[in-house]
C-alpha cells in the first residue's frame, strides 16, 4: 500500500512542524496549511486520505467547515481541540468529524488514532463484517450470537442493538445523540440516562472489570468509543 497522504490544518507553525516530523517518520505524506481556505483548496487538488483539523483557527468556524466538507469528501476527519470544550467536540462529531484529540496530546496517541481511522476507512462501502472479536468475546452478527470463550451470553434486544451500533464503528467516538437515535430512535435524543444504563449493562456482561472498562470506553461529556 502506498503511503497515505494526510492534510494538517493548524495555525501554529510549531505544532505543524512537530506533527509533520512525527508523521513523516511513520511514513505518511504530509500536506499542511494554516487556514481553512487553503485547506479546502488542497482538498480539491490533492488526493488526501485523512484530515487533521485544529478547531481554533483564526479564519472561520471549524465546525461549519466540517459540515461543508462532509457533503463532498468521505475522508476521515480527526479534530484537535482544547480541554473543557465538550460542547465544541460534540458539535464537531455531530457535524461529521470521526474522532478528536484533546491538547496537549502525545504523538503516540495521535498516530494510534490515525491508524484506527485509516483502518476503518477502506471498509466503507464494502460488505460489512459480520464477525467481531475483542478480549474473550466473540460476536457473530449473522448468527445473532455473543459468546465468551465459546459460552453463550444473553443480551436483551436493546443491549444487542446498542452492541451492534458500537461494533459498526470501532475506534470512532459516538456521541450520545448518535447512539440514542440509532438504538432508541429520534424521540429519545434527550434521554442520556437510558444510554448510560445500557452501556453499563453491556460492561457488566462483556467487560472483565466493568469499573475499569477496556472496550466500551467513556468519552466523558461527549459519548462512547468502542475499542476492539
Amino acid at each position: 500500500m502506498s503511503e497515505p497522504t494526510v492534510l494538517l490544518i493548524e495555525d501554529e507553525v510549531q505544532i505543524r512542524r512537530l506533527v509533520r516530523t512525527a508523521l513523516e517518520e511513520e511514513g505518511y505524506r504530509v500536506l499542511e496549511c494554516g487556514t481553512l481556505k487553503e485547506g479546502l483548496a488542497q482538498l480539491h487538488t490533492a488526493a488526501i486520505q485523512l484530515l487533521i483539523l485544529d478547531l481554533g483557527l483564526p479564519d472561520g468556524d471549524g465546525i461549519a467547515f466540517i459540515r461543508e466538507l462532509r457533503t463532498q469528501f468521505p475522508l476521515p476527519v480527526l479534530v484537535l481541540s482544547a480541554r473543557s470544550a465538550e460542547g465544541e467536540k460534540i458539535r464537531a462529531l455531530d457535524a461529521g468529524a470521526d474522532d478528536y484529540l484533546t491538547k496537549p496530546y502525545s504523538t503516540g496517541e495521535l498516530l494510534a488514532r490515525m491508524r484506527a481511522q485509516l483502518r476503518r476507512a477502506p471498509q466503507e462501502g464494502a460488505t460489512a463484517e459480520t464477525q467481531f472479536r475483542f478480549g474473550d468475546i466473540e460476536v457473530d452478527l449473522a448468527q445473532r450470537s455473543v459468546t465468551r470463550r465459546g459460552e453463550a451470553l444473553r443480551l436483551t434486544p436493546i443491549e444487542y442493538r446498542l452492541l451492534c451500533a458500537m461494533l459498526a464503528e470501532p475506534g470512532k467516538v459516538l456521541t450520545y445523540r448518535h447512539l440514542l437515535s440509532a438504538v432508541w430512535g429520534k424521540a429519545f435524543i434527550e434521554s442520556n440516562h437510558y444510554l448510560r444504563i445500557y452501556v453499563s449493562h453491556l460492561r457488566q456482561k462483556l467487560e472483565d472489570d466493568p469499573a475499569q472498562p477496556e472496550h466500551f470506553l467513556t468519552e466523558t461529556g461527549v459519548g462512547y468509543r468502542f475499542q476492539p
Partner: protein, 503 residues
Amino acid sequence: MKSLSLLPGPSHSLPARMLWVVTTCGLATLLAWPWRELLDPANTAMLYVLAVAIVAARAGKGAAIASALLGSALLDFFFIYPHFTFTIGDAQHIVTLGVMLAVAFIIGNLTVGLQREREAALERERQSRALYQLASQLAGALSLEQVDELTRGFLQETQACHGLLLMRQGEEVSPLSNEQPTLSGKPYYAAQSALRLGAVQATLDEPVQWLFLPLHGSTYTRGVLALSASGNDLLNSERRPLFDAIAALLAASVERLHFVEVAQRAQLQMTDERLRSSILSALSHDIRTPLTVLYGMADTLAQAELPKALHEMADAMRQQTLRLNSMVSNLLDMAKLRAGDIRLNLEWQPVEEVIGASIKLLGQALAQHPVSVTLPTEMPLLRFDAVLMERVLCNLLENAAKYAAPGSPIRIAARTDKKFAHISVCNDGSQFPPDRLESLFELFERGDTESNVPGVGLGLAICRSIVTAHGGSIQADNDDGACVTFTLPLGDPPVIEPEDDHE
C-alpha cells in the same frame, strides 16, 4: 373671624384694617362737611358708599361691613336732621341709610369674592409653577436619593408637610436609606396596603395625619409616597389633585431611573462577561499552544532511541509538562468557578462510569499504583456534571498517588445513606496533618508546606467548589490511610422501565 384669616389682603392685621375703616370714613365725613348745606343727605351717602367700596377692596369684607355701619352712623350723626344726634327726623332718611348699608354689604361681598378668586388663581399659578419646577428638577435627578430629597424639600416648602419616599422591596415597602425612620403600627400597615392595592390610603396616628399615595409604574406599583403632617389638613379634598400630580411625577421619575439602571446593568454585565470570557479563552489558548508543542517534543524525544540518562530526562520533561497542563486547567477552572461562569450540566448517571473514565484518563500517572474500586451492588444513579466530576476524581486520584509510596494501592469506595452517596478516595500513604484537615480545602493549602511534592494545592480547593456546587460536601480523614470523602445528594433518579427480554 376665621374666614377673614383666609384672605390675604393688602392689610392683614386687625389694627390696620380698623385704621382703614376709620380713616376712610373720617375722610368722607371731612369732605362732605363743608357742603352739608348744599347736598342732600342721599347724595352725601354716595360718598360713604364710595368709602365702603374702597375699604372693601383694601381691607376685606369685615372691614367693609364695619365701615358701612360706621358710615351710616356718621351720616346720621352729622348730616341727617337733627344734627349731632342719632335720631332720624325724616322717615325717608331711613331708606337712604338702609340702601347705603345694603349697597355697602353687596359691594363688600363682591369685592371680597373677586379678591378670593384672584387669590385662588394666583395660588393655582404658584402651584403649577412649583410643580413645573419640581418636574424639571426630577427630570435631571440621577438617583433615587436625589428624587427623595427633591420631593421632600418641595413638600416641606410648599405644602408644609413631611414627605417620605418608600420603595418596593419584594412585597414590602421601605425607606431608601437606613437613616430614615422606618414606619410601624398603623402607618406601616396603611403603606403596605397602598402598595398591595395600588390605591391611596389615609390614616391618623394622633396627632399626625398620614396620606399614602401609590407610585404606579407601567408594570407594577414601584413604591409609595408617604405624606405626614400634624395640625395640617392633609385629607382636604381640595389638595388631592396637587398630591396626585406630585405622585404621578414621582412615579414617572422612579420608573425612568429604574429603566436607566436596568439598561446600565445589562450593558455592564455584557461587557464584563465578554471581557472575562475572552481573557479566559485567550489565556487558555495562549498557554495551551506552547504546552502542546513542549509536550509533543518531549514525547517524541521519549520515544526515540536515547542513552538511558537522556531518555529519563525526556520522560521527566513529558511528565512535568503534563503536570503544568493540569495546573493550568485547574487554574482556569477555578477562575471560571469563582466567576460563576460554569453552568452545571446535571444528568443522571452511574458513578462507576466517571470513576472508570478518570482512572483511564490519568493512565501513566497511576501506573505505579493499583487502583481498586468497591461499589455497592445496587448503587443508584446520581445526578452530576460528568466533566466536572471527572475533574474531582482526577484531582483526588492524582493527590492520592502523589503522597503514596510507590506500589501502594489506591482505593475508591462508595456507599449510600438516606440522603447522600459518599464516595471516597484513599491511599495507604502518609497521613494528612490532623490539625489541618479542614484547611486542606482552602485555596493554596498543602498538607506539608515544606514538602517537595509538586502541586499548588489548587486541586482540593477546586474539588470543594465543584462538590459544593452539586449540593454535597467534602472532608478529609486519616481513619484508613489518607482519605478524602465527598458526598452527592441522592434525589429521585428517573425510573427506567424494565425491558421485555423476548423479541
